[in-house]
Amino acid sequence: MMKMQKKTIKFLAMLAYGAFLLASFLLGFSPGKQIGYNFFSFSIEMLRILPCAFILIGLFEVWVKKEKVEKHLGRESGFIAYLWVILLAGTTVGGLYVAFPVAYSLYHKGAKLSVIFTYVGAAAICRIPMTIFEASFMGLRFSFIRLLVSIPLVLVSSIWLGNYLEKRNYKIMSGK
């Protein structure tokens, strides 16, 4: 019941937002137009990336066996598991919003929590195309120091968070 109500409110809020944008464009209300412009430019940015990301996730779910992921990224996997996901993160495009569904699929295929947190953290900080772009504006030295400092921090915090949640038998729900 509560959930239904929350959903209805959310839906109404979205409707109100849409109506506000429409009215702004019709009446030439410039803050509303600016918000609408922001909305569309970000939507296009994401629509360019998300379909590919989800298709690849779908293929991953169908073709990669659970035992394989468990063996390499699961509880019995060693330190090399972190290296694998950092490399995978390096090739991730987009941003955190792409990393979340990928991490989610990895988890449900048997990857352990600390590994998927490492993946999310690394996808935030060491995507290769982004780092190249960063270096061209901030200098190689900046990018180099940033990577060198951030990767260990992400690793340590992910392992800590993973173990902490694992001890409390934390499970990420399925169905998304």
Binding site: K10, L59, L96, Y97, G121, F142, R146, V149, S157, L161
Partner: protein, 156 residues
């Protein structure tokens, strides 16, 4: 990326048509399931970017002392969302204007790691608790990175 995805689908079709259809179906279902969360995020992004435009960010990062600069930079980085091709050129300009590396590191790192605006999406996948812990931890990591940058660039 389109080429890579296209190739992957093509190879999959050649290997097994049925499985590929299942994969595309999974992809579609997952996409639809998370779409409301993405929509919420986009709405928030559009409003926040209106309230906190780039010009305001440049102003605050440039004019303050180092300490306030870092606080402002990490707050802006946490609450906004910007693709790299917008953020780094902006930082490049600020750098030329004399903003310290440390402050810019605080800004870009929180921008990448901390996502208040991506919260609606993240909580759908990981739950509220993990999302909050991850973002708080990421915020402190970003501060540490900024300090390390400041140290190596002799700005501390």
């Amino acid at each position: 990326m389109y080429i890579a995805t296209g190739l992957a689908v093509l190879i999959s079709v050649i290997l097994d048509r049925k499985k590929t259809l299942v994969a595309l179906n999974i992809a579609w279902k997952k996409f639809i399931a998370i779409l409301p969360a993405f929509l919420t995020m986009l709405i928030l992004v559009s409003i926040v970017l209106f309230i906190v435009p780039d010009t305001m960010i440049s102003q605050y990062l440039g004019n303050e002392s180092r300490f306030t600069g870092i606080i402002c930079a990490s707050s802006f980085g946490s609450i906004t969302l910007m693709p790299g091709f917008v953020a780094y050129p902006l930082c490049g300009i600020l750098l030329k204007k004399g903003v310290s590396y440390m402050v810019l590191a605080a800004f870009t790192t929180t921008l990448m790691m901390v996502g208040i605006l991506t919260y609606p999406v993240e909580k759908e996948y990981f739950g509220v608790k993990v999302t909050i812990i991850r973002n708080v931890v990421s915020f402190f990591i970003a501060l540490l990175i900024a300090l390390a940058i400041g140290f190596f660039f002799g700005e501390l």
